[in-house]
Amino acid sequence: MPTAVSARVLSRKLSMQIIRDQKIVDDTYTTFSDDAPLPAAGNIIVSSARFAKERAQLLARPEGTFGVRLKSDEDPAILAADILALSLIAVEFPKFGDGRGYTTGRLLRERYGFRGELRAVGNVLRDQMFYMQRCGFNAFELTPGKSLESALGAFGEFSVTYQAAADDPRPLYRRRAS
């Protein structure tokens, strides 16, 4: 997935809104491209490549102020060792039909124990958000132009689910009242 972005601020301005924990909120993070200088303070998101290169400096930032962005083909295992130091992980969905991020989400939550903000970024649309939420995502940067209000409707569409996933470790057959 080519990053056709030359601006130093990659995706969003501070005033940008996202959905977090089923509410529309201001995005408090800024995403930086790999060659952009980082501000001394504030919440930032960098690529996994930059994190690998500048790991020591990044880990020295105040706790809870930086996150890493994973591409859809990146193995979340590369973040396993630092999982507690990250306050946010953003997972790219380059196209909404690219479903690798669902596995990435579940692995981060269920296998690597990530407890921070797990954010879906890229081609993020209302009709996939229910699945994303089940796979552990609690934050959504929607595709520009899409209504966040409408997207909130995604969370209430189903009252029952069959599978074990990041949102409930028990499949329905361990929850069914017999």
């Binding site: 909404f96 039909g97 690219d98 479903g99 690798r100 669902y102 596995t103 579940r106 296998r111 649309l125 209302r126 009709d127 996939q128 229910f130 699945y131 994303m132 089940r134 796979c135 209504s147 409408s150 409707g153 569409e157 189903f158 009252s159 029952v160 689910t161 069959y162 599978q163 074990a164 996933a165 470790p169 028990r170 499949p171 329905l172 057959y173 361990r174 069914r176 017999s178």
Partner: protein, 554 residues
């Protein structure tokens, strides 16, 4: 059969409402056609050549009489009075209007049916042996496992956007595979190991389409409680590593081939090690809860009817005798028989049934059985529990309905895709070829003499008509703007799985029907005895005599 509880019903009702909302948002322009496409596909709604096509799920092919009547109702109210049973044991309607689809889904939900994941890059309807639960040679009824897989795969949040579609088939009869499990993305075989324990053999990477592949064994023996965790492991490996750069190389068969089965197995096993003892482990309680819906119905205590069945096959009423010999199979319960209703004769496209027929079948399933009907992957229907003594009565009724053609597993029991008449992908028509073959072999009396042989026709290389696994396969191609047909011989979907081989140059529609006849005449001449089936003779003789027979005069 399985009955929804409140949980299952809630999911289907909520799905109908969700899709209604999606259709409204599409019509208002809030979502684009590109964004809507996978949503409608995951609800079985295709854009065909002339109109939308709606595919409805029939889990493992099993319908109640009430559900069959609902299909008749849908055919009448929303379509043109008929439905089309598919090779994936589902039913399709070819003419619904988009705005009617939410109402159709709501109607379906009222009889515990839906169209969930009948299309799209997700886990599709789980298929099985059409004789499941009644076959004499069955080790264990596969349907409880199919139902568990259905529930596990319904809206699985991790696997809704796979690289490509994904099909799972289960068989409970180790000795005969009537579910073509080796040609599915995952095949599950219920087996007994050397210690006499029940479990599964798990195969993966089979498929048809442009690249036909026979599935490979991933695990030789899997204890029953690990079924879902093992499936989840395979799906996870596929979701992560399956190719997404080319839709024709995106099926799991390509991943398994490119990775190599050993390495693929290592990846699956490594994943499974980490989850096998987790919450996905099946509980005895859940298996028992689901299995109780599949306990045998209240059969009457009848004497064995094996002798009378054999006698009926030789009945002086030749029409009846032939039908018994070809379309009736022995049942595990004494006094009962399994009856196949042929949806194949020259007048209709294979697999089509009218609303009147569907209503009538529902009635027959109640009078001659326990109100159950099964769809076969050969696009026929099965009444699984008919008293052998009542076969003459049933036969008379089926004759009136045009569903007594005595051709199950015979040359005119053709599997056929919709072809160029309906499908946007097709290169050639397939229904007229099927009709021509039916007519040709209807006219000559040696249909019976030819015995068991399968003919499968696809209108393009996507192989919806399964031409690769027909004993005789026909593939429609585009030959510099003309419809032309290739002939393949030697395919077999069963335990001795094999992929058909192209016999020679492609030919015209008229010639291909002649060629089928030449092949069969050649077989009759060269077979060792009437017991040697076509496929066995082909394996013994190889393609040469058949090639000679077809191409010598051209």
């Amino acid at each position: 059969m399985y009955q929804y509880d409140d949980y299952d019903q809630a999911i289907v009702d909520e799905r109908a409402r969700q899709f209604k909302g999606q259709v409204e948002r599409r019509m208002s322009g809030e979502i684009t056609e590109l964004e809507f496409k996978p949503l409608r596909l995951q609800n079985g709604l295709y854009m065909q050549l002339h109109a939308y096509m709606l595919r409805i799920a029939i889990p493992y092919g099993l319908l109640s009489a009430q559900q069959m009547r609902m299909q008749a109702h849908i055919a009448r109210k929303y379509d043109r009075g008929y439905g089309h049973f598919t090779t994936h044991q589902n039913i399709q309607f070819n003419w619904p209007k988009l705005e009617d689809v939410p109402s159709i889904l709501a109607d379906l939900a009222s009889v515990q049916m839906q169209a969930i994941q009948t299309s799209g890059n997700c886990i599709r309807n789980t298929t099985s042996d059409p004789f499941a639960g009644v076959a004499k040679d069955e080790l264990e009824d596969p349907r409880p496992y199919c139902e568990l897989i259905r529930q596990w795969s319904t809206f699985h949040p991790e696997f809704a956007y796979l690289p490509r579609k994904f099909k799972i088939a289960v068989t409970g009869t180790p000795g005969e595979d009537r579910a073509a499990v080796r040609f599915h993305d995952i095949g599950v075989r219920i087996i007994e190991n050397a210690e006499g324990e029940r479990g599964f053999e798990i195969l993966a990477g089979g498929g048809l389409g442009r690249t036909p592949v026979i599935a490979k064994v991933v695990r030789a023996f899997l204890p029953y409680e690990h079924l879902l965790s093992y499936l989840e492991s395979i799906l996870r490996v596929y979701n992560r590593y399956g190719r997404r750069d080319n839709k024709y190389k995106a099926r799991i068969k390509i991943l398994v081939n490119e990775t190599g089965i050993e390495k693929f197995r290592e990846q699956v096993e490594a994943e499974w090690e980490l989850m096998k003892d987790g919450a996905l482990k099946l509980t005895r309680t859940e298996l028992a809860r689901v299995a109780k819906y599949f306990v045998p119905p209240s059969y009457e205590n009848l004497p064995s009817s094996e002798n009378s069945l054999a006698a009926a096959a030789l009945s002086p009423n030749r029409e009846f005798g032939r039908w018994v010999a070809n379309n009736v199979r022995g049942h595990r319960q004494a006094g009962y028989s399994i009856v196949v209703l042929s949806l194949k004769h020259a007048k209709i496209p294979p697999g089509d049934a009218s609303d009147t027929q569907m209503d009538a079948i529902a009635g027959l399933s109640e009078r001659y059985g326990f109100g159950r009907i099964v769809v076969t992957h050969t696009q026929d229907l099965v009444l699984p529990d008919v008293k052998t003594a009542e076969l003459p009565l049933l036969f008379a009724e089926l004759q009136k309905l045009d569903m007594a053609t005595p051709n199950f597993e015979r040359v005119t029991d053709i599997i056929c895709c919709p072809g160029l008449d309906y499908c946007a992908l097709a290169n050639a028509r397939s229904i007229p070829v099927a009709a021509e073959i039916s007519k040709r072999f209807e006219d000559i009396d040696y249909l019976d003499d030819i015995g068991e042989v399968s003919v499968k026709i696809s209108g393009c290389i996507n192989a919806c008509g399964h031409h690769h696994i027909g004993n005789i396969g026909i593939l429609g191609i585009d030959k510099s703007g003309e419809e032309a047909y290739q002939l393949l011989l030697g395919g077999d979907p069963g335990n001795e799985a094999s992929i058909g081989v192209i016999l020679g140059p492609a030919m015209s529609e008229a010639k291909v029907v002649d060629a089928v006849e030449s092949v069969l005449r050649c077989y009759l001449k060269l077979r060792e005895s009437a017991e040697e089936r076509f496929i066995d003779a082909y394996r013994r003789l190889g393609p040469s005599p058949f090639k000679e027979a077809v191409y010598a005069n051209n």
